[in-house]
């Protein structure tokens, strides 16, 4: 969709040539404005992630510094007589010098000049808290390496990916089949069945958790991936609803053409419907991927006895577990390491997603 001229295109070629340059200028201006608006929106939208990114490179001391800047900054220190002292920018004798704070006091403090330590302690009047510390750029990669080893990241990554991908296949296949059944066929009771499908999501999971868990206990599936994977092969209300909505918008001409050619329902589905429904099928795949990737509660209760089968979302919880020592740097690094993989998969998928629908005779 593009912004167009306010009046219909004139029929005379001569007139057309005259309006063409004006149209492209307006297009360029609109393009610039629109892109500018998009940039502002995205910047605001993503700004918390920028903060996460910055925090993930900081140590706890850096984060809890007074007036900590966004970038990882450590105060410069100077080693005097065996101990490190922080360096501040001090106004003294008319010039600003960087000096190490030796002894803190409310109204006066003692400094050592790193460039002239033998001069001894220099007394400075004033409140040291009003001084700006001399900072150096000191990012740390410790958060990332700690997450890697503490979480057993490769193992959990594999588990999470396996569960997500198998579930994705189950979801896409089963939901497409079921949605096709709802969208393209007529039979008595279809409306009632669809209503039952939708109403299964009306009950909050908290309430069905205990009976569901009991069923899986009786089946002996607790402690395995089965409770997380098997239900995905039997379709779920959200994705069936979405697919069904989309399938209902696809015109029936191609279906009918295929039927005349002697294609059965399955063949029609595969060669006529699926290519036209490609964007929404990809959407369903992405949704399940993200949902499964970040699912916390189901792996938590079903895999509690098997840490080697556990997922990233659950593993991440151990960093926010300790009341005494919240480590924001670790949590942010862990979060970023968890979400990077679905993002990469999305980057790959979206090229396919946006390829759009190309089918002979129907261009969309």
């Amino acid at each position: 969709m593009s912004v167009t001229a306010q009046r219909p295109a004139p029929a005379l070629p001569f007139a057309k040539a005259r309006t063409a340059p004006r149209r492209s200028l307006r297009q360029r201006r609109d393009s610039f404005l629109l892109t500018f608006v998009a940039v502002v929106l995205v910047a605001g939208f993503l700004s918390p992630l920028l903060r996460s990114f910055a925090l993930s490179f900081q140590t706890p001391e850096q984060i809890s510094q007074v007036d900590a800047p966004l970038w990882p900054a450590s105060p410069l220190t100077y080693n005097y007589k065996g101990r490190d002292y922080p360096v501040y920018k001090v106004q003294i004798n008319g010039t600003t010098r960087e000096m190490a704070l030796f002894k803190k006091g409310r109204t006066e403090s003692q400094f050592v000049d790193p460039s002239n330590p033998s001069a001894g302690l220099i007394i400075w009047q004033g409140s040291w808290r009003t001084l700006t510390p001399a900072l150096s750029f000191a990012p740390t990669f410790d958060n990332y390496t700690n997450v890697w080893s503490l979480l057993n990241y490769p193992r959990l990554l594999f588990n999470t990916a396996a569960i997500a991908i198998i579930g994705l296949i189950g979801t896409v296949v089963s939901c497409t089949l079921v949605a096709y059944g709802f969208a393209r066929f007529r039979y008595p009771g279809r409306g009632v069945l669809f209503l039952i499908l939708i109403s299964t999501i009306f009950l909050p999971t908290a309430v069905t958790l205990i009976p569901t868990y009991t069923i899986f206990v009786k089946l002996g599936w607790v402690g395995t991936w089965l409770p997380l994977l098997v239900p995905t092969f039997f379709a779920n209300a959200y994705d069936v609803f979405l697919l069904r909505q989309y399938l209902l918008t696809i015109p029936r001409e191609m279906d009918e053409a295929a039927a005349i050619d002697g294609a059965g329902p399955m063949r029609t589905l595969i060669s006529v419907i699926v290519p036209q429904a490609w964007p929404v099928i990809i959407a369903v795949a992405i949704f399940h991927l993200v949902y499964s990737w970040n699912d916390f509660f189901a792996p938590l209760i079903y895999l509690s006895t098997k840490p080697e089968l556990q997922t990233l979302a659950v593993g991440l919880a151990q960093f926010s577990a300790n009341r005494s020592a919240q480590e924001p740097g670790l949590i942010q690094a862990g979060t970023l390491m968890t979400l990077i993989v679905p993002v990469i998969i999305f980057l790959i998928f979206q090229r396919v997603f946006m390829r759009g629908v190309v089918i002979t005779g129907v261009e969309k």
């Binding site: 219909p8 998009a38 939208f45 918390p48 059944g181 009976p211 039997f234 991440l316």
Partner: protein, 311 residues
């Protein structure tokens, strides 16, 4: 002639029915195996007196739980809280993803695939981490939102602790989840044949006209989907306040959502039967509202592939 036609039609109809149900079978089997029993079980719970410590013997209590439900002031307070929040968050949940999808689909936008990924990015952030990140952003003393407002001279409110501002605060946190909605709306927009726009343009429709007469009707099935799911989701809203305030309902009971009260009844107060009763009331409310939405669909949802109305 007429006698011949009727058996042939019903045989075709029977074939169609058989195929349709065959395609539905994965769901039907799964429903019977995994979903039906828990649902019926919870309904049975409402007629018993199940508590976690079960100090009294298990017995049939008839409608006692339902009577208690109607007498419980917290139930109605919580419903009101949920509805108040829904009034603010539903419009955002439906309109915002659509608008962003429009923006991303626009041919005037440069580097649209980059923007697509960027808008999608927060959707992938793990839920609890995302809420905690936003809790920091909305912190009235050190958060960036108030910092930004301060730069333009506005005294930012105490987003998470002021009863008048906590709902907008929660909506802001929720905005990070629109990535999914954007994708759905984009898929819908992609499915609109371009010849319709060409026809509209020839008829003299400008940008707004095309939106009203082509885009919205053609994308109405997707909007319907978004609306129904948004309604269901807002009625079950509880995780964000649980993570933010440990479920205390602060500030001043404004975050004591119905589903939060339900969750606490189950896992803090450990009264399983009463919790199930709360759940079924929620079920009925959701059913009623969704029923109305489905009924209304005939007036505004257009399915291009259907020749006659089918909800």
């Amino acid at each position: 002639m007429i006698a011949f036609r009727r058996p042939r039609m019903s045989r075709l109809a029977w074939h169609e029915a058989r195929s349709g149900l065959l395609f539905l079978s994965p769901w039907i089997i799964g429903f019977l195996a995994f979903t039906l029993i828990p649902i019926v079980a919870t309904l049975v719970f409402t007629f018993l007196n199940i508590k976690l410590d079960q100090e009294e013997p298990l017995r049939f209590v008839g409608l006692d739980n339902y009577v208690a439900l109607f007498r419980d002031p917290q139930v109605w307070d919580s419903l009101l809280v949920t509805l108040k929040f829904a009034a603010i968050s539903l419009p955002v949940a439906v309109v915002l993803p659509f608008s962003v999808a429009l923006l991303l689909n626009s041919r005037s936008l440069r580097a649209s695939s980059l923007f697509r990924v960027l808008f999608f990015l927060p959707y992938v952030v793990p839920f609890v981490a995302g809420v905690l990140i936003w809790a920091q952003m909305l912190n009235s003393d050190t958060g960036w939102i108030n910092g930004l407002l301060g730069l333009v001279g506005i005294q930012g409110p105490d987003w998470l602790n002021d009863p008048s501002w906590v709902y907008p605060g929660l909506v802001i946190i929720g905005v990070w989840g629109i990535g999914g909605g954007i994708i759905v709306n984009q898929a819908g927009l992609k499915g609109i044949p371009t010849e319709l726009y060409d026809a509209a343009r020839i008829d003299g429709a400008g940008w707004w006209g095309q939106l009203r007469h082509v885009t919205l009707p053609m994308i109405s099935p997707v909007i319907f989907y978004t609306l129904v799911l948004a309604v269901v989701e807002v009625l079950q809203y509880f995780l964000v306040p649980l993570v933010l305030n440990q479920g205390t309902g602060e500030p001043g009971g404004t975050t004591r959502f119905y589903n939060l009260y339900l969750y606490q009844t189950f896992f803090s107060y450990q009264d399983m039967s009463y919790g199930a009763t709360l759940a079924w009331l929620l079920f009925l409310i959701t059913l009623a509202i969704t029923g109305v939405l489905f009924w209304s669909a005939r007036y505004w949802v257009y399915y291009a592939g259907e020749t006659s109305y089918s909800a």
